[in-house]
Symmetry: none
Subunit: 495 residues, 2 copies
């Protein structure tokens, strides 16, 4: 590539004493010039060599700045020609003779593509959603509540109470960027301690499900230069959320002790589901947890811990959260009421350092102000009234019964691989491994004709690492008595 030396030297005053890295300062200068139209189709960007000399910085510094501008879609390289500003307004400059016909429809596509182009979207399959799940007698999925066991009565009681004094004000007020104080107290006092998390209310932010927590963290703390390690197989939405802001998303494999931490490359953040790995349901082992926590300080990295279904452990002690081991403030803890109550209510939260929470709060304000007051107040009442713990015990009993029935049925009716079937006791789904010769993708499709809705495991693998040996058998959306006949129907659908 030949680079032009015909640049505009411009003001170009860098401040070496500034806390802002030099390459960022260079980038800002160039962005300013780009915005002022200094460069154009017939005027390329100054060469790296020229600019390094003019600014008195290394060529690496300039190269880094250009790399970011290219990544941001502001400049592009043309073969044997150099770097040019991207022409972002293709049609606006055309001359006009007469007034345009106002009924000519706007073409939104270029604008939408421009947006998409800036994103380094992973070519992942979307996480499986089964909108028609209720049409199936045996929905072995985990995202949906089982209607009969949704605590409609106690939830209704809380929603109604939230519309009376002294609660009404909190249910309907414009809360600015704040959260419901009753709910924050209830979370800190009655929910988090059982996860080993001891937080004050300024360390908690209410979010619209775990999803909002994750996307706020990605947008506020990560960027195009960040590397985020994720579990493989894993939570596809998390990959999307990180990759859409341009971060590099790097998978590490998982085994029966959870994510293989020792294989993780350098990273800025790691997204984990340590209590019950999504989707295999295994628990991250203590030695790996220790290894991870030791690495964090060395790497100046942080953990995003998604504890989405930690309430559900049926045998043994619940494994403590990573946050409970966090002595250096490097764990951001994401919780959710989606599995316990219902995903459709969109209730979640983030626990972290007060400074981080304040920044996430400011960004949440720009996005959607606060979470609906009525839902927050009702959840606060639901917890403090004791209904939460009562319902939780009932749900645990139900899910434990489902797990027992399911593991027995799987071992009895489904073909098992040589190493046998053994399943971690907890969570809301079972990760079934089939003998190598079975095509699970085909099996899951055939199962539908037998009334069984089930996600084949391939959907959870990182692009390029696809494997076809698993089914994810969610058992939270069924009644216990549906399970054995459901597994028999699944067996009957074997390809």
């Amino acid at each position: 590539m030949t680079e032009s030396t015909a640049g505009d030297p411009a003001p170009l005053a860098l401040d070496p004493s500034s806390a802002t890295p030099l390459y960022r300062q260079v980038r800002a200068l160039l962005e300013d010039q780009l915005a002022r139209g200094v460069y154009g189709p017939s005027r390329p960007m100054p060469s790296t060599r020229y600019l390094a000399q003019a600014l008195g910085v290394s060529r690496n510094t300039v190269a880094l700045a250009y790399q970011e501008l290219t990544g941001a879609g502001l400049v592009e390289s043309r073969p044997r020609s150099g770097l040019y500003p991207v022409n972002l307004a293709p049609t606006s400059t055309t001359p006009r003779t007469t007034r345009r016909d106002r009924t000519i429809q706007m073409d939104w596509q270029p604008r939408l593509e421009r947006h998409q182009a800036g994103l380094h979207q992973l070519p992942v399959t979307k996480a499986p959603a089964f909108p028609e799940w209720q049409d199936y007698p045996y929905p072995f999925i985990s995202a949906q509540p089982e209607m009969k066991s949704f605590p409609a009565r106690s939830w209704q009681r809380a929603m109604v109470a939230a519309l009376h004094n002294p609660h009404l004000t909190y249910s309907v007020r414009d809360a600015g960027d704040s959260d419901d104080p009753l709910l924050l107290e209830a979370l800190c006092n009655e929910i988090l301690p059982s996860r080993g998390v001891h937080a004050t209310t300024d360390e908690v932010l209410m979010t619209s499900g775990a999803q909002q927590g994750l996307s706020l963290i990605a947008d506020v703390l990560l960027g195009p230069t960040s590397t985020v390690v994720v579990e493989n197989p894993g939570y596809v939405d998390a990959w999307q959320i990180c990759s859409r802001i341009g971060a590099s998303v790097v998978p590490v494999p998982t085994d029966q002790w959870g994510a293989v931490i020792e294989d993780a490359p350098g990273f800025d953040a790691i997204y984990l589901t340590p209590s019950h790995h999504h989707p295999t349901n295994v628990t991250l082992s203590l030695p790996r947890r220790r290894l991870l926590m030791d690495q964090l300080a060395d790497r100046d990295a942080f953990v995003i811990e998604d504890d989405y279904d930690s309430e559900f452990r049926f045998r043994g002690q619940p494994t403590p959260s990573l946050k409970a081991m966090d002595t250096s403030g490097r764990v951001l803890y994401i919780g959710s009421f989606s599995k316990f109550l219902a995903a459709g209510l969109r209730l979640g939260f983030v626990v972290g350092h007060p400074e981080v929470i304040a920044a996430l709060r400011a960004e949440r304000h720009n996005r959607s102000k606060h979470l609906a007051g009525h839902l927050q107040r009702a959840l606060g009442i639901f917890i403090t009234s004791g209904d939460y713990h009562k319902v939780l015990r009932g749900q645990r009993r139900r899910l434990r019964a489902n797990w027992d029935t399911l593991t027995a049925a799987v071992n009895r009716y489904l073909p098992l691989p040589d190493e046998g079937g053994s399943y971690p006791p907890g969570g809301v789904s079972l990760w079934y491994t089939a003998p190598a010769e079975i095509d699970c993708k085909r099996w899951a499709l055939r199962a539908r004709e037998h009334g069984v809705l089930v996600a084949d495991g391939s959907r959870y693998y990182f692009p390029g690492t696809w494997r076809n040996h698993n089914l994810r058998l969610g058992y939270s959306s069924l009644r216990t008595e549906q399970i054995e006949p459901g597994i028999r129907a699944l067996a009957a659908a074997l390809p």
Copy 2:
């Protein structure tokens, strides 16, 4: 390693005919005992030799089970003592001398600053929020509902109905990125037509208040190279939302006919509150609307129309929305139930081209999936039951009475500028202009001592264009009978 032989032999019934390997069965038994607290700091795990004998299995089998338990972090060996259950409480980690001190707190500031540095934030004052508004006898604000006139009973009826068949499913399901079909139909059939907007359900997206609609549009359709024209004075949050993604935000002045469109420079998008300009409450004139619509195609630009309180027009015909004039698909229409119901419920929507709506929907999924199903379903029921229109009529009557009382009281008790006081009949607030010599900022502060909460107008001006001649008298948060005494108290606070 010497292992203790003092174990609890327990029931320990293995099933040699099971498909589960023996070592897995041993592991399950031990896990169960661990969970029940059989072993502890002073009680080690049984030795391999003892357990092999007691269970009638080989020592290798037991050793394999222990190996897994150790790997899972459930037991650990202590030198010259044996295997012990791991104390899972956070303090269990013994201090280490060589390893890095894990209690050194992470410094989040550089990361947060790195993020902030990427943003070209406008130095705007935050929009006024008055969390303590209920402590004042006369809260002349507009963001908050008047508790007595909030339709608690009919809203409660809708929320309860949404928890029964056939609605419950829609209230609690994980809807993926979709919206409640009942609510979309109700919006398209019963709400939008009165605004002159005729849309199909694929042209509508439900949002967490108008704020989410605006921020989705900014994030998906605008970027660092975009220019967004906004009204001055105007809605401060909109400026923040556009400037935080790096867009250039350019103010145009407003007069008694709304935003001075003819002064607008080139732009990619223009954000307007044409029905009732925020905060002055004037309506964008028809000639300016025509001029604007003509400019759009020439500029290949689009309008973000925030119709946040269009329900409230007390005299004459409601001005049609800009969207109703939109023959080229260049208007994105944002609506809200914040003023009519309550801001705290966070219910809003966007109407636009199906391709745009699909892109906003995908981004909303990454941010927060969907809006809480229970709220959506309740709002759908609220509208289709006829309660919406009944409540709307009542609210209009109340606000009309408030407006009549307020304009009379202002003209009677407050000093007026030479041009007199004349106020557009509609909206939820009155933009009062004081004689030039009065310091309104000081007046608003002094008013608090007289029990009056009111926003001084300077808060709504673009950075660098600050003016101090106005008060924004919101009248939706008061009962009618509070208004005259409130204005008298305000007059008494004149500096």
